[in-house]
Subunit: 279 residues, 2 copies
């Protein structure tokens, strides 16, 4: 591929551009974003030029959609209208079923491959983009059918994703949303609910003053502002409601175990998972 | 004070001894623990000598009880039987109402001052003790009455706690348990319940593979093994059950907000608390 169009030059899109450069990509990188963001991205050397969506897509061998989920879905028809023969569209949206479904309607077979880099930061925007963001992080591809992975452009994209240091994984879009629901969306809601509850604690100031690193860990996700989350929750709603019902049930069971002094099994199960998670 | 008896030479007791030394304490530090722990603590230079509880208390101007809550309560009568006139007993137990109540029965007025250093590590034991453990951390004193803070020994203890770098705070024992319930015990249970639930996820391996730093944060407390927690939960049971019921209710409300797409207020409230917590 000679030209990449990054649509949405924020933390993820900007970091993907920087990561490609560092990994040796010597083609052209066009950005599609607001005027202000494009100016900043050019100044930081993240992109070579800012273009309109139509111009960027017409020039691109790879179109990288890194906007919020609803914007990704909303721009697909326009992307499809200007896409070159043989070019590939991919995305970095946080949920995949809704996106892949829309893409299947908009693009011919093999022209779209959904993706989700499991990387991020508390801060957003191109100002905090960095070439190393994806290093050692999972990068999940979500083909609508296995052949989506087999075209030359898809293989080339997967190669670049490996060269930027990510660990590629493959899931179908529904499995991705179940797994991301459990690994990412549920933890976010658990953290936000805990922080929102403690904000209303009658001794909230003393709670903050007495807080240790444990509460810091448990409220780090709660630092997120809604921003992207509205789209994520809306496009993974059924699974998240199921996960929350299950988690509320687990808490009620644990509460009864606290009442009867019988919590050893809970700590054993939880600590085993937490250790496994750390390899 | 010339002689300090550290009862329970683990992470907290051992770190307190090391911190006293580094802050310029040049008296004698005796340890009370298992033979094996005492040998290790002497080798690491944490204590000067290992003694029996009776011997150590008879020699001590300050007795520092750093065992699990039930052991602290269980040794109080023996400590009281051997305590020198004018000596002070303090403790580092994680809940305070049960301990201060027992102490009020065992010790004459002014001879006991409850405390709780809000510091810790995932690992336990004297092997991981360090002089800097309390630096910048809250250290809560929980007098049964205000005069407990006014004796010469109590003022001397508070002076050392400040010299080891901790930030002293004062709460009554019940307030401490409410505040520690919200700032420490509830987050522990929330983390343990989340990790225990994900351990049983039908795609648990994919969840682990896809996990990012967010889930790492949210399961760090779940690494704790039950150990000390059995005592903590048992001595703060009523407040924890109340907090869990409240948290389950908040999650159910947030779940309904996810269903109606109306989560912006939750993220705003949660992120405001999380930012306040970070100063």
């Amino acid at each position: 591929m000679r030209t990449v169009a990054i649509c949405g030059v924020g933390l993820i899109g900007g970091s993907f551009a920087l990561a490609l450069r560092r990994a040796g990509f010597d083609g052209r990188i066009a950005g599609v974003s607001s005027e202000k963001t494009l100016r900043r991205a050019r100044e930081q050397g993240v992109i070579d030029e800012g273009l309109s969506l139509a111009e960027a897509v017409r020039a691109a061998d790879l179109v990288y959609l890194a906007q919020p989920v609803s914007v990704i879905i909303g721009c697909m028809e326009q992307v499809a209208a200007h896409l070159k023969d043989g070019a590939l569209v991919t995305d970095a949206g946080s949920t995949k079923a809704a996106i892949v479904e829309a893409a299947t309607r908009c693009f011919p077979p093999g022209a779209f491959l959904g993706g989700h880099p499991m990387a991020g930061k508390a801060e957003r925007g191109v100002a905090v983009a960095e070439a190393g963001l994806f290093e050692g992080r999972p990068y999940i591809f979500t083909p609508s059918q296995p052949s989506d992975l087999e075209g030359a452009r898809a293989r080339e994209l997967a190669g670049w994703v490996e060269r930027i240091g990510a660990r590629t994984m493959v899931m179908d879009p529904q499995q991705h949303d179940r797994v991301a629901g459990a690994a990412s969306h549920l933890p976010q809601l658990v953290s936000t609910a805990l922080a929102a509850m403690l904000a209303g604690h009658p001794e909230s100031e003393a709670v903050r003053a007495a807080a240790g690193p444990g509460l810091q860990d448990m409220t780090r996700l709660a630092l997120s502002e809604e921003g992207l989350w509205g789209d994520i929750l809306a496009t993974n709603r059924a699974e998240l409601i199921r996960l929350l019902v299950e988690y509320e049930g687990r808490l009620a069971e644990l509460r009864r175990a606290v009442g009867s002094g019988d919590t050893a099994g809970w700590f054993e199960l939880g600590s085993r998972f937490a250790r496994l998670l750390r390899g």
